[in-house]
């Protein structure tokens, strides 16, 4: 009887999970479907069966070179993630293993900066970028993306590090490990799932960031968010072309997410069950 209840419960949970997953994925699916329609089909109403035309992709490729934007997206998202980890690993280590009475306050303050609307600091940031010659530069934008995602990275790593028993680090110290050796050879290998999932999440966040990447770039550093933005038109049909541009922009990150989903889930649930 108990087994029957468990099986029924599992089935219900599985169906519910599929429904939720489909609901979440549906906008992406419909974007992909729309990209294979003509402009007339795209605006004709809800229809999940496209004619299969590639005219939108041809138009998108003719209108603006995809590869230049793609390359910038890769450089910015990977670069900002590496930078963020270089800063966040030592920061999270000190907060997790040498906390002070202000550590929680500092963590909360870091997180609170994420609650500030970005537009509130647009002008000061723009002026700093202008004066330092960073407008439309990959370096400037990499640092910017690192800074805006840093609170989340520190928080995630802090949570993972807290799950590692301090006794292991103490043992390493007794064996003569230096601070550097403790972080690099003991802590980091143990926190690989957590660091990997933090890294993947940060890449996704940086890849999708659209406020600063559009406002601080023009030509040289413009990533795929700027590429998508260029296909919206005030006078004329553009939904199919916009969908094609969006599909091309999200495809790399979707593929990366697909192949790394096990790592992501493992990292995100790290320490959840003891």
């Amino acid at each position: 009887m108990a087994r029957a209840v468990t099986n029924r419960h599992k089935t219900i949970v599985t169906i519910a999970a599929w429904i939720v997953a489909l609901l979440i994925f549906f906008p992406i699916l419909y974007t992909i479907v729309t990209s294979f329609k003509s402009e007339q089909e795209a605006i004709a109403g809800f229809n999940l069966i496209p004619s299969g035309t590639l005219e939108s992709y041809t138009a998108v490729e003719e209108q603006s070179g995809y590869f230049r934007f793609f390359l910038n997206s890769v450089i910015l998202s990977v670069g900002s993630t590496i930078l963020a980890l270089l800063v966040a690993v030592p920061a999270a280590w000190s907060m997790a293993f040498s906390p002070t009475k202000r550590t929680k306050d500092i963590l909360m303050w870091m997180l609170s900066t994420k609650m500030m609307p970005a537009v509130a600091v647009l002008f000061p940031i723009y002026l700093i970028f202008r004066d330092w010659g960073l407008l439309d530069s990959r370096i400037g934008l990499t640092v910017m993306l690192m800074l805006i995602n840093l609170p989340i990275v520190v928080w995630m790593l802090y949570t993972y590090f807290r799950e590692i028993p301090g006794e292991i680090l103490e043992a390493a110290r007794m064996d003569g490990a230096t601070l550097w050796g403790e972080i690099v050879y003991v802590l980091t290998p143990m926190a690989v799932p957590g660091i990997a999932s933090t890294m993947l999440l940060n890449i996704i966040l940086a890849w999708n960031e659209a406020f600063w990447t559009i406002r601080l770039t023009t030509i040289n550093a413009a990533p795929l968010t700027a590429f998508i933005s260029s296909f919206s038109s005030p006078q004329g049909l553009f939904w199919a072309k916009l969908s094609a541009a969006s599909t091309l922009a999200i495809a790399p990150i979707l593929i990366m997410g697909w192949f790394s989903q096990k790592q992501l889930v493992r990292g995100l649930t790290f320490g959840a069950v003891k």
Partner: protein
């Protein structure tokens, strides 16, 4: 073989050295059909000006407006040529944000620009932006449905006639709405249409002392007429419809009439995209019986040079090329006269080939000639602008009022409530701006 390699190497080195010396200018623009065509035709410019390279930044209209404003206000110098509307040009020129276009070239023929358009882009007699394409507003209607309704479009239609015709043309069982009008909230969306409509009803945004006029009978008549008409003869969900949505409805044969920008005429007449291309008639923007005003809608997309540009000379060469008569002829030679950018030059409307290729040329010119943005209303006003009020506060205020009127159209509030709230919002905005003491 060695000689060939050497020659190729030298050529490559020369090309690289040349590229290093070429001056590059950055052009910010929107994703309109005419703008995209311009990007495709720039080989003509670069072949005539090999020392200038062009970089394009295409952005969504509102993002472009915000980005360009930020860049100009902070003197960021990211752009050398910007695409802006005739709403921004006089405001920005007075702020010294734009350079006067004094060197467009001997053969540019500034006097050929349509007087109404040129006037809207000039401050103290100096031209601060060159028009790329221009538009007014007019009625586009289905000739077959008008005939079926037993009506004939008059030369100067009144709103009373439009209301009557729209209701008679409506056949909801067949999916036909008598009229499609903008309902989506925004200063450049529903408020462009409703401001022009109120002008044609004899109304105005402000009196001579900048007192908002939403508590006056003209606005009440305008909004009442609009909401009732759309309820009786408009499409479902009209409060979400802007230019693109109505264009699609009309092209699919679902609108008896559509009153909107003249630039739409070429889209609805294009048999490749419009199912009703051979059944479209055009007429001037309606007015209220006894009011001599056809809305005064006048818009142009223009190329201007921000004062922060370090490459003004090269930028002006480009602006001159893109808005010249020669460019119009280039478009005509590549894509036909019907694709020529409309609404900027008198010579285009005297061109027999253009008139033949574009049956909407006459009505478009008539609409543009009828628009006078220096006198938008039959009553005296302290501002210029036709379907907008040319003050910096209008972007925010127009959008706020647009949201109130869009809610009234959707049935979420009454016309009286929307007008009352619009009056309060406009009064607060005018007080904050120092217009009202």
């Amino acid at each position: 073989m060695k000689l060939r390699t050497l020659v190729l190497g030298l050529c490559s080195a020369s090309a690289l050295a040349f590229a290093a010396h070429a001056e590059s200018i950055t052009i910010a623009t929107v994703n309109n059909g005419d703008m995209i065509r311009m990007q495709k035709l720039t080989d003509d410019f670069t072949s005539k000006n090999p020392d200038i390279q062009l970089n394009w930044v295409t952005l969504e209209e509102n993002v472009l407006r915000e980005r360009v404003t930020t860049d100009i206000a902070t003197k960021g110098g990211q752009y050398d040529v910007i695409t802006i509307g005739n709403y921004e040009v006089p405001i920005w020129a007075k702020q010294n944000w734009l350079l006067a276009l004094d060197n467009l070239g001997a053969d540019y023929d500034v006097d050929d620009l349509l007087p109404a358009i040129r006037g809207g882009l000039s401050v103290d007699g100096k031209l601060y932006a060159a028009p790329f394409y221009g538009e007014s507003a007019m009625i586009m209607y289905r000739t077959d449905l008008m005939e079926k309704a037993g009506l004939k479009m008059p030369d100067k239609p009144t709103w009373e006639f439009i209301g009557d015709a729209a209701r008679k043309m409506t056949d909801r069982a067949a999916g036909i709405n008598g009229i499609c009008l903008r309902g989506k909230a925004g200063w450049g969306e529903n408020m462009a249409f409703l401001t022009a409509m109120d002008n044609s009803f004899g109304g105005r945004w402000f009196d001579e002392k900048w007192q908002p006029q939403f508590d006056q009978p003209e606005w009440k008549d305008t909004l009442d007429f609009y909401v009732k008409l759309m309820k009786d003869a408009g499409p479902e969900g009209a409060s979400s419809n802007g230019f693109n949505e109505n264009l699609t409805l009309f092209q699919q044969g679902k609108c008896g009439m559509w009153i909107d920008a003249t630039v739409a005429a070429s889209f609805v007449s294009d048999p490749k995209n419009s199912t009703v291309a051979d059944k479209v008639g055009f007429a001037i923007f309606p007015s209220k019986e006894g009011v001599d005003n056809h809305g005064n809608w006048l818009w142009s997309w223009n190329l201007a040079i921000p004062a922060s540009s370090q490459k003004a000379e090269a930028a002006e060469k480009f602006v001159s090329w893109a808005t010249s008569k020669g460019y119009t002829e280039l478009v005509a030679s590549k894509e036909g006269w019907a694709s020529a950018p409309p609404g900027t030059r008198t010579s285009l409307y005297n061109n027999e080939e253009y008139k033949k290729a574009a049956p909407f040329a006459g009505p478009t010119l008539a609409a543009m000639d009828a628009a006078d943005i220096t006198k938008p209303s039959v009553k005296p006003v302290p501002y210029t602008g036709g379907q907008f009020v040319a003050i910096p506060e209008f972007q925010g205020l127009g959008t706020t009022v647009g949201q109130l009127f869009s809610a009234a159209l959707a049935g979420q509030s009454s016309v009286d409530d929307a007008l009352k709230q619009a009056q309060d919002a406009a009064t607060a905005s005018m007080q904050e701006g120092g217009y009202l003491q």
